[in-house]
């Protein structure tokens, strides 16, 4: 009779433990059943740095001949960049600029923002394309059209053609890259 306390205490421990275990299980089941976990796991296809359709559009743009019979690409190669000619460089015919504005911000307005970059990027001036930083010489760079490359968001699609032989560029051509960069909209959290 005097030993009943220990036996009753042990039983009560298990009863309390059972209640706690069941409560925790119910909470866990409710959390797992809630919306973040149900409703399917959707995999989106927008986490790439390239876009096939934009690439095709860019190639078509470069190959187009204007009224004079010259392709846009050949006209780009004939242009001095802003780095080579700060006064007159970096200019492209208005018709070619207008064409680019009709193509890229319009066709891809749902996937990308209206801001885009079209121009020449020269690694020789110290642009670190991996870290997206520039040396002092590149701070004066300017695209043929579009936004300043330094103001791009961290998420974008980039189509580039390396080693573009620009007119009168000499040995600097080896590091010359013709680029089209479309910005992805910044997500608002």
């Amino acid at each position: 009779m005097l030993d009943k306390k220990a036996q009753i205490g042990e039983t009560m421990t298990w009863v309390v433990a059972t209640i706690i275990i069941i409560v925790i299980l119910v909470i866990a089941i409710v959390v797992v059943s809630s919306s973040p976990f149900k409703g399917g796991k959707k995999i989106e296809s927008k986490n790439t740095k390239t876009d096939l359709l934009v690439t095709k559009s860019f190639l078509g743009y470069l190959l187009r001949k204007d009224s004079s019979g010259a392709r846009v690409f050949e006209q780009l190669k004939d242009k001095k960049t802003y780095l080579d000619d700060p006064v007159n460089g970096g200019e492209l015919e208005k018709s070619n600029i207008d064409l680019a504005k009709k193509i890229f911000p319009v066709l891809y307005k749902e996937e990308y923002s209206e801001r885009f970059f079209l121009g020449i990027n020269s690694e020789w001036c110290g642009w670190d394309k991996y870290n997206q930083t520039s040396s002092g010489a590149c701070d004066r760079s300017r695209p043929f059209e579009g936004i300043d490359r330094k103001s791009l968001t961290t998420s974008y699609v980039r189509i580039s053609y390396d080693r573009i032989k620009l007119k009168d560029r000499g040995n600097k051509d080896d590091n010359t890259i013709l680029e089209l960069i479309l910005n992805k909209p910044t997500k608002i959290s």
């Binding site: 009779m1 030993d3 009943k4 036996q7 042990e10 039983t11 298990w14 433990a17 059972t18 275990i21 069941i22 299980l25 866990a28 089941i29 797992v32 059943s33 976990f37 149900k38 409703g39 399917g40 796991k41 959707k42 995999i43 989106e44 296809s45 096939l52 359709l53 934009v54 095709k56 559009s57 190639l59 078509g60 743009y61 470069l62 190959l63 187009r64 001949k65 009709k102 193509i103 066709l107 996937e111």
Partner: protein, 169 residues
């Protein structure tokens, strides 16, 4: 003998109780795992994007439309572009899980340059404007291209993938 000091009977009761708790906890964990991993991954958007890219590759090479782009029609399109809309024999599917529609527009005017190409289950197109669960996924994208005469076109490709039984619940 004092019955109350004999703990053998008490241990046996507690052992059964312990296994009961074990099964309750195990059952709960299995149920939670089933709920979470039982949800399918929805890859239809990627699938529709891949289909769009394949069609674009078929129509345009090197920035220009392929030579026989104007000879493609609803009957020979799948064969010429090496595509198939056949699906596995499951969920009562009858090769009706895909739909594509290709519009050829003149870039300057927006007018149609030729007859659009359509293929697949046309009934899927009506779901593109709807929102909700368990609906087909639609992907519509465009690209700019030229033909050999330097004429400019915009090609609009609409790809629809159904397969709701395997991708959505």
């Amino acid at each position: 003998m004092n019955k109350f000091t004999d703990k053998k009977g008490t241990d046996k009761i507690l052992s059964v109780y312990w296994f009961a708790i074990l099964f309750i906890v195990a059952g709960g964990i299995v149920y939670m795992t089933f709920i979470f991993y039982g949800e399918p991954y929805d890859v239809r958007e990627i699938e529709a994007s891949i289909l769009t890219n394949q069609i674009a590759d078929c129509l345009s090479q090197g920035g220009k439309l392929v030579e026989e782009w104007d000879k493609l029609d609803n009957d020979n399109f799948l064969e010429k572009c090496h595509l198939t809309f056949n699906v596995e024999d499951t969920k009562a599917w009858k090769d009706d899980q895909y739909y594509v529609n290709i519009d050829f527009q003149k870039f300057d005017t927006g007018d149609s340059a030729r007859e659009p190409i359509t293929n697949g289950n046309i009934n899927l197109k009506q779901f593109c404007d709807q929102e909700g669960k368990n609906l087909p996924v639609c992907v519509e994208r465009s690209f700019y291209t030229l033909d050999e005469e330097n004429s400019q076109y915009v090609i609009k490709i609409l790809s629809v993938v159904r397969k709701t039984e395997k991708n959505a619940r």
